[in-house]
């Protein structure tokens, strides 16, 4: 490689890394507990499980569940009903001051078979919530998300430039060779290069999907503007209904439309995922990938009849598929452990990279060739 371009790559690697390192360390550290968010919540006793009942116990009517949740907060409006991917025994219903208000949301978790209230989970406080907010938006809302997304772009740049720089350093080294018996610097450099190149593809995938996730709010907004408005166009201008039909009947209509899919979540009328006239029923498949690709089925909230149903467009599909690839939540406990180990490797790469720069920042070596000979291209 020409000396001039090598020098440029070294500059790019140094600055893209330095700018994002502090945030990446934060993301790696807060990401660790998030891999096990479910398990931690369980350990902390924040999650109440539904009791074991005989497998053939019939499900209660969704209307009954709705009624029991509303009974706790008669002045609030129901927003969503949702459940975990692997949990058929419960539904959690959220309620707010209006269908779209985001403050002071109440959650009621109910047993899907008996319609009994199991608990009122608090999703907006506690250790996991703090980790989550630091990881997603630094408690700064959309600007925070987009900022972290930008840091993710820098990480991707740092990884790619790092791969380019890997070559000149490895000309005289075996793959995996770590010069531990010489200076700490060489050991640090070899560790950085080796761990960096071994975790390369994983870090690229998690970095890129993280950047895509940073756009989640905007992508969903666009989907509402692009698809939701088209699906509900016939109802435009009509006064919102005052009374609603049966939720269970609406669920049955959606299920009949997609008999091979499972109901993932329900958006009650008036939310961003429905319309004032509709229940938004979001159906999911059963493989790791199709279970992420929610298919919207809009049901008229008065007549319980089907209004429209469309495949998710490419941009929403991209977002929905990038989520499991970022979270590592699609392969059970083994995948979570792999995610943890690779995350720790990445922390070591970040840390050794930072140290390599810190220890040598005052030493000025003018030309890149001597730098590489001295194992210092940063």
């Amino acid at each position: 490689m020409r000396i001039a371009s090598l020098k440029t790559w070294a500059w790019v690697h140094k600055w893209s890394s330095l700018v994002c390192t502090a945030f990446m360390l934060l993301l790696c550290l807060t990401g660790l507990p998030l891999i096990f968010a479910h398990e931690i919540d369980h350990l902390l006793g924040n999650e109440v499980e539904a009791p074991e009942l005989p497998a053939n116990t019939p499900y209660a009517s969704m209307d009954k569940l709705l009624q029991n949740a509303k009974a706790l907060y008669p002045n609030l409006v129901t927003q969503f009903a949702f459940r975990e991917i692997d949990d058929d025994k419960t539904w959690t219903i959220s309620l707010g001051k209006t269908a779209t208000s985001e403050d002071d949301t109440k959650f009621v978790k109910l047993d899907a078979r008996t319609a009994k209230v199991l608990q009122e989970p608090k999703f907006d406080e506690g250790f996991i919530h703090i980790m989550f907010r630091l990881h997603v938006d630094l408690f700064a809302g959309l600007p925070g998300m987009l900022f972290l997304g930008l840091m993710g772009v820098l990480l991707v740049v740092a990884i790619i430039s790092g791969v380019v720089l890997y070559a000149p350093f490895m000309r005289k080294l075996e793959f995996g060779e770590i010069r531990r018996d010489r200076t700490p610097k060489l050991k640090r450099l070899d560790t950085h290069n080796f761990l960096g190149v071994v975790t390369l593809v994983w870090a690229l995938v998690v970095g890129t999907t993280g950047v895509i996730n940073a756009w989640a709010d905007l992508v969903i907004k666009y989907w509402q503007f692009d698809q939701m408005s088209a699906m509900t166009a016939p109802y435009k201008g009509l006064p919102p209904p005052k009374t609603f039909g049966s939720l269970q009947a609406a669920v049955d209509t959606a299920q009949a439309r997609e008999p091979h899919m499972k109901l993932g979540f329900i958006a009650f009328p008036g939310t961003d995922f429905s319309s004032p006239h509709h229940y938004g029923m979001f159906m999911r498949g059963d493989s790791p990938i199709t279970s992420r690709l929610f298919k919207p089925v809009l049901i008229d909230a008065q007549t319980e009849k089907l209004t429209d149903s469309r495949e998710v467009p490419w941009y929403l599909a991209t977002l929905l598929i990038s989520q499991p690839l970022h979270f590592g939540d699609y392969g059970g406990m083994p995948l979570k452990i792999i995610w943890t180990i690779l995350d720790i490797f990445t922390i070591v790469v970040l840390w050794t990279g930072l140290m390599l720069w810190w220890k040598k920042r005052k030493q000025y070596i003018p030309d890149i060739e001597s730098k590489i000979r001295l194992s210092e291209a940063y």
């Binding site: 793959f175 995996g176 995948l335 792999i338």
Partner: protein, 64 residues
């Protein structure tokens, strides 16, 4: 293996062959586990473990 003092300069293929193999295994593992549950998922997890095993081997087992 500390023969690098006398070692010829490696070419790009020699430098990147093992990183590329690990990269392909990781990519296959990440994607296959997403597509299918069951046996395919277990095979793909093995692909994802490869980089970790390689790391453990070179860092702690084969100390030169």
């Amino acid at each position: 293996m500390a023969t690098h003092l006398f070692m010829q300069n490696k070419n790009l293929k020699q430098i990147f062959i093992w990183p590329a193999v690990l990269g392909v295994l990781t990519a296959l593992g990440l994607v296959l586990a997403l597509l299918e549950d069951g046996v395919v998922e277990e095979i793909s997890l093995a692909g994802l473990i490869a980089p970790i095993l390689v790391m453990v081997y070179f860092y702690w087992v084969r100390k030169t």
